[in-house]
Amino acid sequence: MAEMNMLQAINSALRIAMEKDPSMLVFGEDVGHFGGVFRATSGLQDTFGKGRCFNTPLTEQGIAGFANGLASNGTTAVAEIQFADYIFPAFDQIVNESAKFRYRSGNEFDVGGLVYRTPYGGGINGGHYHSQSPEAYFTQTPGLKVVVPRNAYQAKGLLLAAIRDKNPVVFFEPKRLYRASVGEVPEGDYELPLGKAEVVREGKHITLVAWGAQMEIIEKAADMAEKEGISCEIIDLRTLAPWDVGTVAESVKKTGRLLVNHEAPLTGGFAGEIAATIQEECFLYLESPIARVCGLDTPYPLIHEKEYMPDALKTFEAIKASVNF
């Protein structure tokens, strides 16, 4: 074990994966000698050479298309999209190509060895174009896996699993936690399962579900609720596609209440999908309407970031409203 922040944990995962898989390449804008704007790929070019860790021209659609081509020919490809806000030029290559490569060819070809890493989310004074959480655009695309880690330990284990998974994965990294999340992380190789949620705290009165950077927000809200005598069960979804219905449903059958929190805007967000499924699975167990504490249906505002955010206080209020319904 060593103390690492999330960037160091991601860097460690990439290094281990590249050591064990000689075909694996890491590339994107500024990821080469410079090590990426957040330094997630720091030192990889020195170790593995310019052929395996390198800068690309400034073209997200090109990065994604190139990644598809590499993976289709059996090369493991880890592409960095510098900010999730800039993933949209690559949308066609991800949604129409990566996601459908296996299906459309009847499994003659696939791009299973492909991961898109991209920092997402707000809380860093980044305004509209350095703060978005676009995960729900991808969860509606069959063929993609969508993964979001909540801390350094999770980031390393989930990234190693994502790289070795036989399906294309979009791996959203909560950039607000890149340096803020520090914890004990094994120096060696380990994987955490994709498609499995984790109950991080057991409770009795309400289930709180989130992922990524919002996990610390709902944990804080749960602490506040506990002082009022409300016991919260907390679940980190970890993988949004395919998501672990069983773990959430089992918890809601126990607590009778559900709150989902995400940073992305409310309408069309992934909380809606969770709410719809859970009311089907747990209809007769529900004691109150499923609550969604999410971003506003506005672009991400710079000066009003604090007001926009589905923070601990808003979550705490929603917990009380649900329990007192």
Binding site: S72, N73, R104, P242, V245
Partner: protein, 392 residues
Amino acid sequence: MSNASTNQETVHKVSFLNKDSLHIPILRILQADGTPHEGAVLPHIDEALAKRIYDTCVFTRVLDERMLGAQRQGRISFYMTCTGEEAAIVGSVAALDDKDVILAQYREHAALRYRGFTTEQFMNQMFSNEKDLGKGRQMPIHYGTAALHYQTISSPLGTQIPQATGVGYSLKMKGERNVAICYFGEGAASEGDFHAGLNMAAVLKAPVIFFCRNNGYAISTPTAEQFAGNGIASRGVGYGMHTIRVDGNDMLAVLAATQQARAYALEHNAPVLIEAMTYRLGAHSTSDDPSGYRSKDEEAKWREHDPVKRFKLWLINKGWLNVADDDALTERYREEVLAAVKVAEKVPAPRLDEIIEDVYDVPTDALKKQLESLKAHVAKYPQAYPKTSGRL
């Protein structure tokens, strides 16, 4: 001041460059009568290669003619011909190693035939039956086969271009002595993926042959409404790429250019751009009617430049083909295609279970649940779902 990417020459009066500043000739080897131009340097070609090329052209003509008919009879939903562009497609694929990876746009089935795709395989795909390698999931002509290194066709235009750069880079990193070839039309070259793919290939040094079929039209849009520059070839120079423009209706010119492009790409780990000037003699697809945007006279003029006819004259001049054999070949393929249609259209559709396969490497729990629910529904209303209800 100037950075390292440009030359250092300066001038002291304003002087603009324009589209004609770059002189791009067209490589032509065969004359209309099938004899080589004086001084022309012929590609490497022996009788066996010439016959394989010609056989592919004859088959493709027959396939296109018959399947166009089958579509009109309502036996298949959709079709696209490559009539008029056979030299561009077959001449280029014939310059390659059979393990070079092909990333095609959609009109390149002649290249697939050249690699050995069987008549039965063509039919299974077009009839979306259970023997189709693509499991009946895509419209007719979206072929793909790993065994023949021909990546499955994707309808969105140009997406294969940056992918070809990735395939080329992958081949280089694996140390394989192969290249990728990427086909696209001059219309697709307006997509952002064209710029992304060619620029990345040049910068990252990927052995890829970018092969543009400049056939005059993107559905109805003529080249004059597609770009204002000096064709597509002028852009290759801008990317710092070896570039050539060829007569796309001249089999030997295409073959020569592609043979040398491949050698260069492998030797230098670098991409090459070939712009083949040709003409789409047929409609864009069976959903298109060219009489709305071009004249019969224009089509007739291009028909005189038929690429297969020109190559055939050369073969006859060489003594490698006689007219009687040629007629027999066409007749044999007509019968073969017709017989294959009759077989393929009777093969059942893939079973319903296959609907959830290959979304992921293994179906998710949610997909299995959806399938079970769908099967129960189909079983309840079998008449409404005749393709699958009989074999649940």
